[in-house]
Amino acid sequence: MSRIAPSLSVAIVGSGGSGVMTAGSLLLDAAGTVGWYGTMTRSSGPQIRGGEAAAMLRLSTEPVASPSSRFDILLGIDWLNAERFAAEIPLDRGSLLIGDAGATPPAVFTGSGARTLDLPLSELARGIEGGRANMVALGIIGALIGMPMDSLRSVLERYLGKKGASAVAASLAGVDAGAVNAAGEAGAFSLDTPEDASRELWNISGNEAAGLGALRGGVRFVAAYPITPATEVLEWLAPSLEKIGGVLVQAEDELASVNQLIGASFGGTPSLTATSGPGLALMTESIGLAVASETPIVVIDVMRGGPSTGIPTKSEQSDLNIAIYGLHGDAPHLVLAPVSVADCLFTTQWSVHLAETLQTAAIVLTDQSLGQTRAVIDRPADVAFVSGRSIQTQTVTGYQRYAVGGNGISPMALPGTPGCQHTADGLEHSPSGTPSSRAEDHLQQLDKRRDKLAGHDYGDHWAVVEGEGELAVITWGSSLAPVREALAALDREGIQARVVAPRLLLPVQPERMRQALDGVTRALVVEQSHGAQFFHYLQAFYPQPFELQSMAQPGPLPIRPQDVVERIKNMRTT
């Protein structure tokens, strides 16, 4: 396993309107201009506006995926309700706790043994016309971590330029004041200079990456119903589709949005929507219609805490069961899961390609922590996966929409094609599409819909498989990042392990999994769900001669690498 790259973790907290997210975003973008990689996760209270907020960054000379197990710096613009973030921002004796002079940090933070530093944030801001404490904070953090001031300045000018010269000047003055005031601590934390600062880096969120993957895959119609934490996918897609000749329609509910996709796809346009658990639950009947009528659609589920309304703003991997088992009848479909912010792009694009090629429904399971995390990443490669639907373009006599035989994929005639008129149907049907309740038609069509998926060669993208050893960790989605980090830490202690994280959850790939786990004698299953949904899925579809052990932890707290290390060390030996 690779070593863990040195990284710096910085959290900024403050009450609503204090500019926490702005400061965090600017810091992340400035890091990108330096050539550092990074991530920024956000956390906020339940209020729509005005609640407390936290921006949590991790910067490194190498790509980073998961939040750190500890934070180097916590800066409170103010401390109102900041104790709510205590579990998300662990500090220790090596941490630095920075607050406004005269404000007392919550005991939950000071109790960690972190060194405290009072700086006159608000006083400095007041001394500048139009000055704001978040810009002073940005300057302080910049100085502490050795961020070149030119990088901060260029980012400020780019992002605040539209607010006018005086806004830029006030912000620059704030940053300078913060940097000067923190000069005594300058370089207290530092990161190496990037080896190659000329690489093309992107600043993108998982939700945006999923949207871009959809469009690269050929999606040109999106029907949308807003839902936290998926809305950013749709909000990025609305203007972006317009630029490339597509369209997004805001529907009246998720029942309408998924059915609009089916209509558009029936007309030949690759179609997609994004939702979260409650919306997916509403859509399931019609996802089954897409399967039965062999009309390709893609549904992204940005998972949040469940069941019911659950915890809309926090992450959990607990929609696996509904994605795998949620359709009534025997309804073979695709379920895929990206394993990182950047992978949201690839996996969504691949899902579009697969749904279109196999004429079925694909569910893409991302989650809040991937979707709403911003990351500085290398420019994502252009992969060749585009729609690839088999279309019947020629007029033929006796056209059969659901013809059986071959690989099970029957060319689809689109409206407008003379002589190929047919009715696509959610009722069981004969090869021509005529409704049928005959046993042989049912069996034939069930086989067709199963075999076209089972017979496809999904290639090496089916999973992330890394490392060696008799010990394996099997995980999925956003849990891969902390697992990778845990395995790197174990590697330094001389404990070898491999990790398997399937991107393709349906259809299952028993032979590929067998190869990936060849020689394994013990395996730990790591996931963020209370009911150990992934563990049970593995037991059902991938029975092993050795014991699978479960580490299942519900949201909203992220899985920490250190917890995975401990759990692996405490595994039962068989």
């Binding site: 558009a264 019609s286 003379p418 696509a424 149907d425």
Partner: protein, 283 residues
């Protein structure tokens, strides 16, 4: 909107729109006449069968796409309208009709009906209204009278107010509102023709008896009569007329002037790589 066949080709006849599949309907069902009216309307408009799509949900009348030699989509219960909307927005050159029953359209699909009227996509929605769930064998529907006691789930009558589709359509913004009767297939064909030609969302209620579970509806043919006035483009005038409507006046009630909802689709466009700019840090 509609499209004329090119002059070189032989004109389309009614039989060109029939698929030849035998309907599942009971003998005497009003839906046979509606099928015939739809075919007559398509022939009158000389639509190329391949350029017509008929979308339906679930119920007796929702079986209709398979009986037509056009493109059809038989979707799930209550969701035909969003399927039709997704198709029409992305394939505006097609003639899209959505067809179904009163349970499918006004109960499980009631919100989509309201929203489709609001959205005003250029399509025609035909509801074959028989005031009963026939396919599930005789339960009260949203348009059933409150004191109908033969509904198997409501033996004391529904005791709830019936749904007035024309009122809801008008209030929600449908651009064309009409009523026809299966007892007059030629009249129904004329109304459907007019509905397809009118821009925006056209709603046609067709009184279509269920002879099996509501045999008394056979008498509808004696009650229905043409409305004594012409269609209006004034929603207030249409609303006043609906106040005295007994659900058996036939003809076109309202022809609005709203512009159909049709976002630009597939027009001038930049390559997808153009979108990379959103994310490049050093660009």
């Amino acid at each position: 909107m509609t499209e004329s066949a090119s002059k070189q080709q032989a004109p389309m006849k009614a039989k060109d729109y029939k698929s030849g599949i035998k309907p599942v309907w009971c003998p005497g069902c009003g839906d046979f006449s509606v099928l015939s009216a739809m075919i007559k309307a398509m022939a009158a408009l000389q639509l190329k069968p391949e350029n017509v799509a008929v979308i339906s949900g679930i119920g007796c009348s929702s079986r209709i796409p398979a009986y037509l030699n056009v493109y059809g989509f038989h979707a799930v219960h209550g969701r035909a309208l969003p399927v039709g909307i997704g198709l029409k927005i992305t394939r505006p050159e097609l003639t899209v009709l959505v067809a179904g029953g009163d349970g499918d359209g006004f109960s499980i699909g009631g919100n989509h009906f309201m929203q489709a009227c609001r959205r005003n996509v250029d399509m025609t929605y035909i509801v074959m209204d028989n005031q009963v769930y026939g396919m599930t064998k005789g339960q009260a529907s949203p348009t059933t009278e409150p004191d109908w006691e033969r509904g198997k789930l409501t033996p004391h009558g529904t005791r709830i107010n019936p749904f007035y589709p024309l009122v809801v359509a008008l209030a929600s913004g449908a651009n064309f509102i009409a009523r026809a009767s299966s007892s007059d297939p030629n009249g129904a064909a004329r109304v459907i023709t007019e509905a397809v030609q009118h821009p925006g969302f056209s709603f046609v209620q067709i009184m279509s008896p269920c002879v099996t579970f509501r045999p008394e509806q056979r008498d509808w043919k004696k009650i229905v009569r043409p409305a004594p006035v012409e269609a209006t483009s004034d929603p207030a005038a249409a609303a006043r007329r609906l106040m005295t409507d007994d659900s058996f006046f036939l003809g076109t009630l309202f022809k609005g002037e709203r512009v159909a909802f049709q976002p630009e689709f597939g027009g001038q466009s930049a390559p997808v790589t153009e979108l990379d700019k959103d994310f490049k840090i050093n660009s």
